[in-house]
């Protein structure tokens, strides 16, 4: 599903945010990307959804070469990828329903299709009773669940999450992990960037460890 060959990203200067990274991620995998702050986790994710272009190397997603992608093709790549952020990135002026519907409307989906899928996605994250609320009226955990509903409503092939539990307490974090696991069970490949080791202890999965942009560990989950 995702292949990286000698991918390097430099932002000017000598040090590379991502340095000569080669790895393969299969369809339907669930993996953690860990490392200290500045290890290159966010840069790696940004290159995957084409917000950044690698300075060197090739990135293939679903057989499409993302490192050579043209601007007008980027929206179509992003329709295959759901992204979840630490700061949720919700539209504060819109309701819960509108925030989730936004992702489908942006893809030009018909209205009847939008309302049905949006309701399902919000129900999936357990917030169907909050449809007409604005994000600021919700707790952090609820906001993140809305952001996850927005990412999943388009049935993405890949779900990228950048420190999704960074602002949340442990109980809420586990609820959110549950949502990721359910999406993964439906076939979505999940990449979760985090420095929270407790997640892997509770939900053991493959772990990629980055240090100063280099891949220093690729640890498979213990076989049960």
């Amino acid at each position: 599903m995702i292949q990286l060959y000698s991918v390097t990203k430099k932002y000017g200067g000598d040090s590379a945010a991502v340095n000569d990274l080669t790895l393969q991620i299969g369809k339907g995998e669930f993996l953690y990307i860990t490392g200290a702050s500045g290890a290159g986790k966010t840069t790696l994710l940004r290159m995957l959804y084409a917000a950044e272009k690698p300075t060197r190397g090739q990135i293939l997603i679903d057989r499409q070469n993302v490192s050579r992608i043209q601007s007008r093709q980027i929206p179509y790549l992003r329709r295959k990828i759901g992204v979840v952020f630490q700061d949720f990135k919700l539209l504060q002026s819109r309701t819960v329903y509108e925030n989730v519907a936004f992702a489908l409307e942006a893809q030009g989906k018909k209205r009847y299709e939008v309302s049905k899928k949006v309701y399902q996605a919000i129900k999936e994250v357990g917030l169907e009773h909050r449809l007409q609320r604005k994000p600021l009226e919700l707790s952090g955990g609820e906001q993140q669940r809305i952001a996850i509903a927005r990412a999943l409503v388009v049935d993405p092939l890949i779900l990228l999450a950048d420190e999704p539990s960074g602002n949340l307490d442990q109980e809420v974090t586990f609820e959110i992990m549950d949502l990721f696991k359910r999406a993964n069970a439906r076939g979505t490949t999940v990449l979760l960037a985090t420095h929270d080791h407790s997640l892997n202890q509770r939900f053991p999965r493959r772990v990629l460890t980055l240090d100063q942009g280099k891949l220093v560990g690729d640890q498979q989950p213990p076989q049960i």
Binding site: Y49, R72, R78, K89, L91, F102, Q107, K110, R111, V154
Partner: protein, 298 residues
């Protein structure tokens, strides 16, 4: 297709409702900018109109060498009237010239006692059609008259005409420079206001790009919003202009320029009014387009 158009229009209207302050700021900025330019345009047009009226005074006086006999006078008058440049022909006989001179002297008229009435020459006062009330028009009339009449002398207020030409020329240059400056300032302010409103909504633009919206999908509602705001700005500026024309501008112009009786101040023609409103639409779309280019990055 219709579904999409409907969606774009609804989105544009919903955005405007969701950001009432930003939306009002854009509309008012455009209205004020357009009204300023249009007011300036109105003032210039009216001054030009007024100046054109002054040119009515322009006439060519041809002093005759010989006094024509009544028969010749009729033919001559006809001939002069047939010239395309000439609007009116007035024959001033020697007697009439003397009477005018006496009237001019007033109390000192007694000085002329005993002076022969043949002292002053007879003349034709020739009024010109509006399109010939300028240097070239007068030159062509003068040339023709010199060839056709036995003329002693020709007078046509050369100095006055020169001064008027200078004034008209200056007016044109000043209005182009000031008008251009105003237009540029209006464009600058409007595009910056729109830039600010988009800056406040940059999260929305970023999220749209993140969820896979195409450039066109992101831009069209914003451009539509710009067009609607521009349309409203244009209509408000027109209403403002009409009100200020009736209650302020016309009074100022009337008192300041001491407009002659019967001079109607000009307002924008219907076409100019339509152009004003459409300029608002154009301004709104252009302002949004240039700002979007800066904020939308996919």
């Amino acid at each position: 297709m219709l579904d999409k158009i409907r969606y774009f229009i609804l989105r544009a209207l919903r955005n405007m409702r969701q950001w009432p302050l930003l939306c009002t700021a854009s509309i008012l900025t455009m209205a004020i900018a357009l009204a300023t330019v249009a007011t300036f345009f109105l003032v210039v047009v009216n001054i030009e109109q007024l100046a054109l009226r002054w040119t009515k005074e322009i006439q060519v006086i041809a002093y005759l060498e010989k006094i024509p006999d009544p028969q010749d006078l009729v033919t001559l008058t006809k001939k002069l009237k047939a010239m395309p440049e000439i609007e009116s022909v007035n024959y001033v006989s020697q007697t009439e010239a003397m009477q005018r001179f006496k009237k001019h002297l007033g109390a000192d008229a007694s000085l002329l006692e005993g002076v022969s009435r043949d002292l002053l020459p007879a003349s034709f006062e020739l009024g010109l059609r509006p399109e010939y009330r300028n240097q070239q028009g007068i030159n062509s009339v003068v040339e023709k008259l010199e060839n056709r009449l036995d003329i002693d002398d020709l007078r046509y207020g050369q100095k006055w005409l020169e001064r008027f030409n200078n004034f008209a020329h200056m007016l044109r240059i000043v209005s182009i420079i000031l008008g251009g400056f105003l237009l540029f300032a209006a464009l600058f302010i409007v595009s910056n206001t729109i830039k600010l409103t988009l800056y406040a909504r940059r999260d929305e633009l970023e999220i749209m790009a993140l969820v896979g919206a195409t450039m066109r999908f992101i831009k069209i509602p914003f451009l539509l919003e710009g067009a609607i705001q521009g349309l409203l700005g244009g209509v408000i500026s027109l209403a403002f202009l009409a009100l200020s024309f009736v209650f302020i501008l016309s009074r100022i112009l009337e008192s300041f320029w001491l407009t002659p009786a019967g001079f109607e101040l000009l307002f924008l023609t219907l076409n100019q009014q339509i152009i004003l409103v459409l300029s608002g639409v154009f301004l709104g779309v252009l302002g949004s387009l240039s700002s979007l280019r800066r904020f939308v990055r996919i």
